[in-house]
Symmetry: C2
Subunit: 336 residues, 2 copies
Amino acid sequence: MAATLHDVAKQAGVSIKTVSNVVNGYTNIRPETRARVQEAIDDLGYQPNLSARSLRSGKSGVIGLVLPELSLSYFAELADAVIARAATHGLVVLVEQTGADREREIAVLSSPRMRLTDGLIFSPLGMGQEDAGFLEVDYPVILLGERIFGGPTDHVTMRNVEAARAATELLLAAGRRRIAVVGAHRDETLGSAALRLEGYRQALEAAGVDYDPALVSFTTLWHRANGAASMRALLESGVGFDAVFGLNDALALGAMRVLQEKGLRIPSDVAVIGFDDIDEAQYMVPSLTTVDPGRTAIAETAVDLLVERLALGGREAPRREILVDFDVIARESTPG
Amino acid sequence: MAATLHDVAKQAGVSIKTVSNVVNGYTNIRPETRARVQEAIDDLGYQPNLSARSLRSGKSGVIGLVLPELSLSYFAELADAVIARAATHGLVVLVEQTGADREREIAVLSSPRMRLTDGLIFSPLGMGQEDAGFLEVDYPVILLGERIFGGPTDHVTMRNVEAARAATELLLAAGRRRIAVVGAHRDETLGSAALRLEGYRQALEAAGVDYDPALVSFTTLWHRANGAASMRALLESGVGFDAVFGLNDALALGAMRVLQEKGLRIPSDVAVIGFDDIDEAQYMVPSLTTVDPGRTAIAETAVDLLVERLALGGREAPRREILVDFDVIARESTPG
DNA sequence: CCCCGGCTCTACAACGATGTAACATCGAGC
DNA sequence: GCTCGATGTTACATCGTTGTAGAGCCGGGG
């Protein structure tokens, strides 16, 4: 059985409160008392019981991270950054997966399973704008993603429109005028796909290039395979293009494979740009030009905001909507 | 403030223990009492306080998963499976990253941070056989990986030697006799690289094919980039080969890119096989033949073993060494 | 009519930590 | 010599939950 304050106190011949004071670095303790207690602590290998501490203090030192699934590179890398940042605040991270399922996302918000976390970083993919009310809970939540805007909680997200516009502008600046899009979602007005497509359109308009619907291919999940399929369809349709904007990197990589299969050279025949800057993008040949949407900044900002909320201890504070900076990362798949 | 048993009891006009009994599904309660209590619970939105429950019961319902980093696809997918399996047991997972750093791995084992977990699934990369003693802790640990064998804890791992042998045999069966290896580690006797290389050698020997050291290229980290670099070195060295065994998929994919750059056809000129069956392997063109080392089985077995240990409640039980089954998954990068 | 047993329900004491208030002890100051 | 304040330490209550022991009530059997 693990030693308790009580055991240590008995061995050191002091009260448990004195041991507690030593453990917590309270200053008014005689050096010899402290030494005696410390010896007993080391001797017994005492470790504070975090459940008890948490019950007493109302804080567990654990934050929850709720995301679709770790198998998606973007979320794995996000989780990596969240965990690393949390560690610098002395917090540990409990990870829950929802499989992008709306019901499970909603369930997790009210689940007692989560009640031992002090707060949540919440990244939904299934919930939509109409579900914003579910975010109204009595613990701090930091919302990520593009599914809900203007909800009751803090929100950290990326400049989807501007970043997509910058990506498109990079292609335009290279003289490309026929820019295909891979990964659009049909009938979506919110969410990453719609916002990035909007950025694309803005860039075209600003450059005085007509928007050609034939260049936009739709798909569902943003997987490599869908990127490849979309590209095949585009090529077969006979529509001419000299550049491709993959709405995320996986799509761009899938498209890139097909282009190379068909003997098209990248970037001379077709330039390719992605979105997300997942790790493997830089290892491809040619390496993929992409947009770093600020994933690390999102993770770190989310943790920091949550830590601030926790420090408030439940007192009210205005909600914040934070947009992190993005970066266009030029690599070999675009000219120049 | 969140409602407690006490609040519910007051509202329902019963004792807190009765409420507790209702919450825990204790049977001997009059239906009308139960209904009254349930109403109060719903009314107040009562949720059990898990810290208190955990203090009282000595169990938190949280298990820890300690791994190098989630940015490595293998570990992200492992974590995905662990979390999913834990959920079926009603457990949640706290994920800690060590960065494959020996000191951090050792620290985590004795960290009070981890004391609120009931047990650990521990996947070290920095510790070695000589550190086995650190695994001797007073909570259940399930060890993963190939860094420590015969330690004091349960151990779940893959059949590295046999799986690597099977991979090599698939190439041999296709008539390939000059099989290059990408990703060996110098001076390693334990660990994935050494074990997989051993399987390779066994397969060659059984087939009566001489082992040619010139075909084995060494590297450090198992990244795409290192796979590509190794392949370039092999090609430049002028040593002839008709197949490549990447000791993991990332290496194989890196190598595959370089082969294609050089205009070599896969699999007709050079067959390629990997190891790990990461998700992207099947989306490549050509898709990568690889070995599923049983990652999902490892994750699920680890969780199940831990659950069994937890059920023992500290009672002794013999340690178990579990080897999961592997599968060779033939895809387009090998003939046939 | 009384006792026994089963069903409901309750009171109380834990689990291990910490905040509060208060109690010794000591030296300094008047 | 007595008070005062600072210092060092302690007793106690408390966080919210659950296990244990047992109390009250009812009906059935002797």
